[in-house]
């Protein structure tokens, strides 16, 4: 039995315009080093009419997260609401999670001492890490813990066109379903047959 909501990201490519609002909001909210992007926006087929579209991606918080399976030191843990988090104090920065990840979510800042990969950093769905909730240490290591504050992850909240959706799967799919239903037709304002029967007025 699933007692908790299953948290998911969804990026509506019909709306994403590569404004990078999500990625910069993420960078800024968690004060990330410049070299890494927990969230990135990519445009495919730049400039080709009919083929160009953009998409924002970060950690998708997979159900059966490959990163978690491949981590040699088992620094990952999956919350019951499906958010995949990791412990930076355990992580050794080997990068296996990156090879296993279908989305390129894990990020590796340069480590000051050796110039090689430091510990992995990735989207936490604004849920922090295993440290004390909203402690200074948690903020330093993982950034804000907005979920604990009862807030929406910052990327989706600041998405300029509301392309990026986040939340439990039912809410997300409800929103998207409504959009798809409306697409190409407009929101149905009168019941079927109304305009045929009585004209447009």
């Amino acid at each position: 039995m699933n007692a908790y909501a299953r948290m998911k990201f969804y990026c509506d490519e019909g709306r994403c315009i590569e404004c990078n609002g999500c990625s910069v909001a993420c960078d800024e909210a968690h004060e990330l080093p410049v070299g890494i992007s927990r969230r990135k926006v990519v445009t495919v087929n730049d400039g080709v009419p009919g083929k160009e579209f953009s998409l924002s991606v970060a950690c998708m918080h997979c159900t059966d997260a490959p990163c978690e399976q491949v981590c040699p030191v088992h620094c990952f843990y999956i919350r019951e609401d499906g958010i995949v988090l990791h412990d930076k104090e355990i992580c050794i920065g080997c990068g296996y999670c990156l090879y296993a990840c279908p989305f390129g979510a894990p990020q590796f800042p340069q480590d000051g001492a050796f110039g090689t990969k430091g510990v992995m950093d990735k989207c936490t769905m604004c849920a922090g890490g295993p440290e004390e909730t909203n402690s200074a240490k948690e903020r330093e290591l993982y950034g804000q813990n907005r979920l604990a504050e009862g807030k929406v992850p910052v990327c989706a909240a600041m998405c300029s066109t509301k392309a990026l959706l986040v939340g439990d799967e039912e809410s997300v799919s409800k929103i998207y379903r409504e959009r798809v239903m409306a697409r190409g037709k407009g929101v149905q304002s009168a019941p079927y047959g109304w305009d045929i029967a009585y004209g447009n007025k």
Binding site: R79, V154, S160
Partner: protein, 186 residues
């Protein structure tokens, strides 16, 4: 290592519960995490919910483009600690492009101009405000006397608030010239 992991697991339970049981989870998470540590006090509910206790939320408007998106600035003890989401703003609905999402860095950017400076003999030199303003106004007054007020041009901008641009126009008018302009010609 093992102990730490257990702690993590415990606090995880608390965090997880939060989504459904707001108040309860706070206490649970905190006590769970610190039961074994023993030296730290339990976190207050305030701390769990609000990482910046006592902060104020100030409403303002993004300075990037003319859409006029709402910005909510979280300010703690006079420091802008966090940019919040203006979800209920009627135009932006909380949305920001990358420029708007980074408004906080406009203020705290490290490469801001920090004090008045003057270039003398090809070198930048720090000076005081009084010094700078005295020297500028003396030079302006001289030029105004010798070459007339039209020897000066004032370039304002859309960076101004409405009041500031009004006063800039007024300033030029009282300086005695119509040589004033900004970007928007049409």
């Amino acid at each position: 290592m093992k102990q730490k992991h257990d702690q993590a697991l415990k606090s995880r339970v608390g965090r997880r519960s939060f989504l459904k049981m707001a108040g309860l989870a706070g206490a649970f998470g905190a006590t769970g995490a610190f039961a074994s540590a023993g030296v730290t006090r339990a976190a207050t509910e305030e701390e769990i919910k609000d990482p910046f206790p006592g902060s104020k939320k100030i409403k303002t408007i993004c300075t990037s483009c003319s859409v006029g998106c709402g910005v909510i600035a979280e300010v703690q003890k006079g420091v802008w600690v966090r940019q919040e989401v203006a979800q209920d703003h009627p135009v932006s609905l909380g949305g920001h492009c990358c420029k708007g999402a980074d408004m906080i860095d406009l203020v705290r950017s490290e490469v801001r101009l920090k004090h008045p400076m003057v270039k003398e003999n090809g070198k930048w030199k720090r000076i005081s405000w009084d010094d700078a303003l005295d020297r500028i106004s003396k030079k302006l007054a001289d030029l105004r006397k010798t070459s007339g007020p039209d020897s000066t041009i004032f370039l304002g901008s859309a960076k101004f608030g409405t009041e500031q641009s009004y006063y800039f126009r007024k300033f030029a008018a009282m300086y005695g010239t119509n040589n004033i302009d900004h970007q928007a010609r049409i």
